[in-house]
């Protein structure tokens, strides 16, 4: 890939590509509502390297939809029309509580160093109470076999040392604290993808570790825009840039209208 093409890769495309590489073939997963990035990642992964993934497109009820572009909402009717099957909301919740879902892609208005998430309520540094939209499916972070966290806001407000309210259980206070309260089969967050970087949550501490920094960003920039210092093991590499195939499939098949390249 040329430097020009590389510079042309939007953060949303980069995030979709990182997620697409992370998914394990044959697994069964779910995404939330306004989820263009994981939606694109799942389409990219199933088309290129993991054809046996099955995934649920949020409120539409559609499994494995094949819409010819990237809908603004995973509830878009075209997801239902092009799906293999329609599930009910009871199906989703059963699959969630029973840990049948191998993974989910989730975010939050706060995400902390142990991967706990908050979508419900917080208090700003100046003491103002802020209402979030609500916990919705984050409660099932307790039961999904694993969770890919992502956020489009790599900021000190979003990436915090400790969430004000645990909507979704990450590794709680780290170490084995999660497994003292929840079932072992649900292993918690495995990855956090932001517009600048990738983190994981390795044992024994299960605290966010900076795995790589996306092309065009620096470790200093990553650290300056978050409210905790992640673990770093030696030199932090650059996130491998998109391959030609990844970018071509993403742009020609998954997102031909370039939704992920628009200002967001």
């Amino acid at each position: 890939m040329t430097a020009t093409e590389q510079a042309d890769v939007s953060y949303a495309e980069m995030m979709a590509i990182v997620l697409a590489r992370s998914f394990v073939d044959g697994e069964f997963g779910a995404i939330g509502a306004a989820s263009q990035i994981p939606y694109a990642a799942l389409r990219l992964a199933t088309l290129t390297r993991a054809p046996n993934i099955c995934w649920l497109s949020g409120g539409s009820g559609g499994i494995n939809p094949v819409v010819g572009e990237l809908p603004a909402s995973s509830s878009d009717y075209r997801n239902a029309l092009t799906a293999e099957a329609i599930y009910s909301l009871e199906d989703v919740v059963d699959w969630e509580t029973s840990s049948r879902l191998d993974f989910a892609c989730l975010g939050g208005m706060q995400i902390d160093q142990y991967g706990n998430t908050n979508m419900a309520r917080l208090t700003t540094p100046d003491g103002r109470f802020v209402r979030g939209p609500g916990t919705v499916g984050l409660v099932f972070m307790s039961t999904f076999k694993k969770v890919y966290l992502y956020t489009e806001r790599h900021t000190t407000r979003t990436l915090v040392a400790k969430v004000d309210f645990i909507s979704g259980a990450g590794h709680l206070s780290g170490g084995d604290s999660r497994f003292e309260r929840l079932m072992r089969r649900a292993t918690g967050p495995v990855l956090l993808v932001t517009p600048m970087a990738v983190f994981d949550f390795p044992p024994p501490e299960r605290r966010a570790r900076l795995v790589s920094v996306h092309p065009g960003h620096t470790v200093d920039e990553v650290l300056a825009n978050m409210s905790f210092v992640p673990r770093m093991d030696g030199d932090v590499p650059v996130t491998p840039p998109p391959t030609d195939t990844e970018l071509a499939v993403l742009r020609e098949v998954v997102d031909p209208r370039g939704v992920l390249r628009r200002p967001r």
């Binding site: 239902a80 919740v93 969630e96 939209p133 409660v139 099932f140 972070m141």
Partner: protein
């Protein structure tokens, strides 16, 4: 058949939209269907607001949006079960956010399991629904005292439970139903049938109400007639949300709603789009035929 000419005929459940107020008195507990900006029963919501209804407890689907936000903005809501209330890719629900932050409504801090298993318990009138380890990892029990614990009689372990949710009335928007209430909802994962079972009464608003066979495979009828108490025909009744297969969501109008609400002018929006148009047709005229036709699926 000559034999049956004098036999009594089955009754229609069709009512005019204006009668909805009798089904949703102030102080009642109301279930609301729809997912995000799809299939919200907006004509019904506007009618409830027009009637000056107050003191409602609202239990929406887990992914609620403008229907709930508008009721909150209009002061119709005293208590709200929150799983998610927002405008999805258009941001926070402004009236809900303000009311919650100012403390003018009571929030029952829930989540997807709260609504779905709560309605599931309501559907069978089960005393409660016990959960696998889940809430133990969250802060929800600290703010929701209705998440009570009991003993698993098989293991002796304490488990969290969700109480049954049982709306007095459930408002559901559908694409088509017959005059007896057999209802087809397109474009969503099925949940409205569970809400209907959990609710004492169910009112369906539909794009089309047919007096005769639905012409649909009976397997895709989401809600069967014995579950439905009243039926209201309201073309474009989900506007500005989408009615899958009929019209898309009206993104411009949703933005207009959000911006005016955020700017503190919900009352202006309400005057223009709810109170001034005295009925549903007048509302549609305020939106404009040109715009309505633009929203049809292409």
């Amino acid at each position: 058949m000559a034999l049956l000419v004098d036999a009594p005929k089955r009754k229609s459940k069709v009512i005019p939209l204006e009668q909805l107020r009798e089904w949703v008195p102030s102080g009642s507990t109301v279930g609301i269907g729809g997912v995000h900006s799809q299939n919200a029963p907006m004509a019904a919501v506007r009618e409830v607001i027009r009637a000056g209804t107050t003191g409602l407890t609202i239990i929406p689907t887990p992914s609620a949006g403008i229907a709930v936000d508008m009721l909150v903005g209009a002061g119709a809501v005293s208590t709200l079960h929150v799983s998610y209330v927002g405008l999805e890719f258009l941001g926070m629900a402004p009236n809900f956010k303000r009311a919650a932050e100012e403390g003018t409504i009571d929030i029952i801090e829930g989540d997807e399991a709260w609504i779905v298993y709560g309605m599931r318990a309501g559907a069978g009138d089960l005393p409660f629904m016990p959960m696998p380890p889940m809430y133990e990892g969250t802060d929800l029990p600290s703010v929701n005292p209705l998440l009570k614990r009991t003993l698993d009689p098989h293991t002796g372990r304490e488990v969290y439970t969700i109480p049954p949710l049982k709306p007095d009335v459930c408002l559901i928007h559908a694409q088509v139903c017959d005059i007896y209430g057999n209802t087809v909802i397109r474009g969503l994962r099925r949940f409205e049938h569970v809400m209907a079972k959990a609710s004492a009464t169910v009112v369906v608003t539909a794009e089309r109400v047919v007096d005769g066979p639905l012409g649909e495979d009976p397997r895709v009828v989401n809600i069967a007639s014995p579950q439905v108490d009243a039926v209201i025909e309201v073309p474009y009744g989900a506007h500005p949300t989408a009615s899958p297969g009929d019209y898309l969501l009206d993104e411009d109008h949703l933005r207009l709603y959000a911006e005016r609400s955020r700017a503190g002018d919900f009352d202006g929006y309400r005057a223009e789009f709810i109170d001034k148009p005295q009925d549903h047709i007048a509302y549609l005229e305020a939106i404009g035929l040109r715009r309505l036709l633009e929203l049809r699926h292409r």
